[in-house]
């Protein structure tokens, strides 16, 4: 007979739940566009990215079973009633610009977290993080390529893209949590990830802002020459942010 010691770690359980739910939600939203993309090539890429996202979710959900916090109903995506994905992923994408904005902003934010977990002290996350980061490289190129393409098309296309980016902006930045977020701070202290919430947000902005800046797309952030970091120039909506579900209410 084998016995398995279950892990009692509320913070890790919460973040894994959020990662799995966000991956699952992104995959489902991407799937809708496998036959609706502007070109056949983009549709095939959307299908491939859908498979990747749902695959990432499928490797994360089983980890939840190892925790004392796990309710058996809530560890299976088919029976799970809790949805800890971003509220902006609750609804279907209105158009291709929403797909591109989610790909460029939300998917990249999750990848920033996985990058910080590649040397995690929690082995199951470390193994998965390396694979996810590897697969996400193509997603990032796809997101950046389409942001450039839509922005340079100009007119209504560019306006729609900016509206989509704005819709995802606040909640994506909030996902890393406030500076004193107890959940991610604990993961940082225990070397499960190698950055605190502010550092993760900064790394994330460092990835996305050069692309947006090169296209003259203004977002509420400014580059601080002293610290060589991007800082938000308007407060994030923390009063609407739920610490358990890591989403805006």
């Amino acid at each position: 007979m084998t016995t398995t010691t279950r892990i009692d770690h509320e913070a890790l359980f919460a973040v894994l739940s959020s990662l799995a739910d966000n991956k699952q939600a992104i995959g489902r939203r991407y799937a809708y566009w496998c036959n609706g993309a502007p070109a056949l090539e983009a549709a095939v890429a959307a299908a491939a990215m859908t498979q990747d996202e749902l695959g990432h979710a499928r490797t994360l959900y089983p980890l939840l079973e190892d925790f004392t916090q796990a309710d058996p109903v809530q560890v299976e995506p088919m029976t799970r009633t809790l949805h800890y994905h971003l509220a902006t992923l609750d609804e279907d994408f209105v158009g291709w610009c929403d797909f591109v904005a989610a790909n460029f902003l939300v998917d990249t934010a999750l990848t920033t977290f996985f990058e910080a977990a590649q040397d995690s002290s929690y082995e199951p996350l470390r193994q998965r993080a390396r694979k996810v980061v590897q697969e996400e490289r193509l997603h990032q190129v796809h997101g950046e390529g389409w942001v450039r393409r839509l922005a340079r098309t100009g007119g209504a296309v560019r306006k729609t893209l900016i509206a989509s980016l704005t819709r995802f902006w606040d909640e994506t930045l909030c996902w890393f949590g406030p500076s004193d977020d107890a959940t991610l701070q604990r993961l940082f202290r225990e070397k499960i990830i190698n950055a605190n919430p502010d550092e993760l947000r900064s790394r994330y902005l460092q990835k996305i802002m050069p692309v947006l800046q090169s296209l003259d797309i203004e977002m509420p952030v400014a580059f601080n020459a002293g610290s060589q970091r991007w800082d938000t120039t308007q407060p994030l909506p923390w009063t609407r942010w739920d610490t358990t579900s890591r989403r805006l209410e």
Binding site: P38, A39, E41, V44, A45, L138, V141, R149, G155, A156
Partner: protein, 74 residues
């Protein structure tokens, strides 16, 4: 005049064709496996990798069709 949805989609039509070459073994030469349309080389790479994923290629390259020179034609 107001632009229609069709006009906007038309503005997104890709115009550049990229020939896709790949090989599975080091001792094999690169051979043409198809083509993709994309106005951005980075996106062309993403498309080629997603569409022609039937094998574990050891090498895949893209050649812009516009750079190909016809020497013999019938």
């Amino acid at each position: 005049m107001k632009k229609t949805t069709t006009d906007r989609r038309g503005a997104l039509n890709e115009t550049q064709v990229w020939q896709v070459y790949a090989r599975r073994k080091y001792e094999e030469p690169l051979y043409e496996i198809g083509n993709v349309m994309a106005d951005d080389v980075e996106l062309a790479g993403v498309y080629a990798r997603s569409i022609y994923d039937e094998f574990s290629w050891i090498e895949m390259v893209l050649v812009p069709r516009a750079s190909m020179v016809t020497v013999i034609t019938s």
